[in-house]
Symmetry: C2
DNA sequence: GGCATCATGTAAATCGTTACATGATTGC
DNA sequence: GCAATCATGTAACGATTTACATGATGCC
């Protein structure tokens, strides 16, 4: 079976070190990741799936504690990197926007910061294309929609506009950060 | 079992008249509703669930055609109206934003346009509250996030800001529309 | 006659939700 | 000792996905 976004979320959270199921649940519950489920009935089966795939491995519990921390295997890291490297698809822009942002968020901890500018270009491009299709629909069909339908549609349009604006700002932000780090490197080696 | 958003989507689409499973699938596939599934394996079981609940009923197929159009029953309409009347909840703002917009979109066709201003006030209010909690998290935790994590977080912040801006504009838009309709009524009765 | 589209369904596998259940550890 | 929290799981149910399957209708 194809792993779900949730599986990659877990892999991504394990990038920064081994965590137990409970740790992962707490992380999800206490941060803006709470769009994802933190129920034990999802977490523990998911961890066993990942373990069966060989993408994570549990260390032995210390003493009598039941706690088992999971760490990424090399295969797990490779699978996550392959997922992060995937191009931005139109379908994801329209239907799974949070999946794309999750992938972007994990670029730096996965050591793939150099992919971030291209990701942002693709993200802006695909949002632009989808927005154009929305505008076409709006021109042709919006008059037939009820008032609140038209307004709800406009809500979507504004969301995509905000995403494009964010992508442009994020690119500038990345470039500035890159410049700052280069300067620091130069100063450090002086 | 508690009906899912998908079930209410079908009820809402049936507000404007009887439709077959195929019609509903086409509607979803050809409009910006395509975040919802149009697979037959979801549609036909869902229609049978709604039929079992007594919320829709199928008319008899005409002649030898297999097509069966479903129409809303009074119970179905009442269930949809009860769903539309529910207050805007914090949890939905954070985790199920499209569900809220779907509810808003169906207000006018359900004859509940008078609820739209209150909905927008609640929507703006709950977005504001959630945004405030994001800002608190940002102030406390953002420094520990990797660069792309911080930027992804900022993406979320901008989405909520865009939603609030939309809600304000939509309220003005509704008020203007209301004024226009009142004027037209007066002119019509003169 | 043949093709596109209309039209409805089923089966298997998997996944998520909800509720239940249990026990260890830590701090007071 | 007790309560809060840490910690991991299972069972039942229902829903979704994917793929398969079938047949009718309308048009050229």
């Amino acid at each position: 079976m194809k792993p779900a976004t949730f599986d990659y979320l877990l892999l991504g959270l394990l990038l920064s070190g081994p965590l137990s199921g409970y740790d992962l649940r707490s992380l999800i519950a206490d941060t803006p990741l709470s769009t994802y489920t933190d129920s034990p009935g999802s977490m523990y089966p998911a961890l066993r799936r990942l373990e069966a795939r060989g993408w994570v491995q549990a260390d032995e519990p210390v003493g009598r504690r039941r706690r088992r921390a999971f760490e990424l295997t090399e295969e797990g890291r490779a699978a996550l990197v392959a997922w992060l490297r995937r191009p931005v698809e139109r379908q994801d822009v329209a239907s799974h926007p949070d999946k794309l942002l999750l992938r972007f968020a994990f670029l730096a901890p996965a050591g793939l910061l150099d992919l971030a500018p291209r990701f942002l270009e693709e993200y802006e491009q695909e949002n632009r294309a989808y927005l154009a299709s929305l505008r076409r629909y709006q021109a042709e069909q919006a008059a037939q929609l009820p008032l609140t339908g038209r307004l709800a549609f406009e809500h979507g349009v504004q969301q995509y506009r905000a995403r494009m604006a964010w992508a442009r700002r994020a690119r500038r932000n990345l470039a500035a950060e890159q410049a700052r780090m280069t300067t620091e490197d130069r100063d450090a080696t002086q």
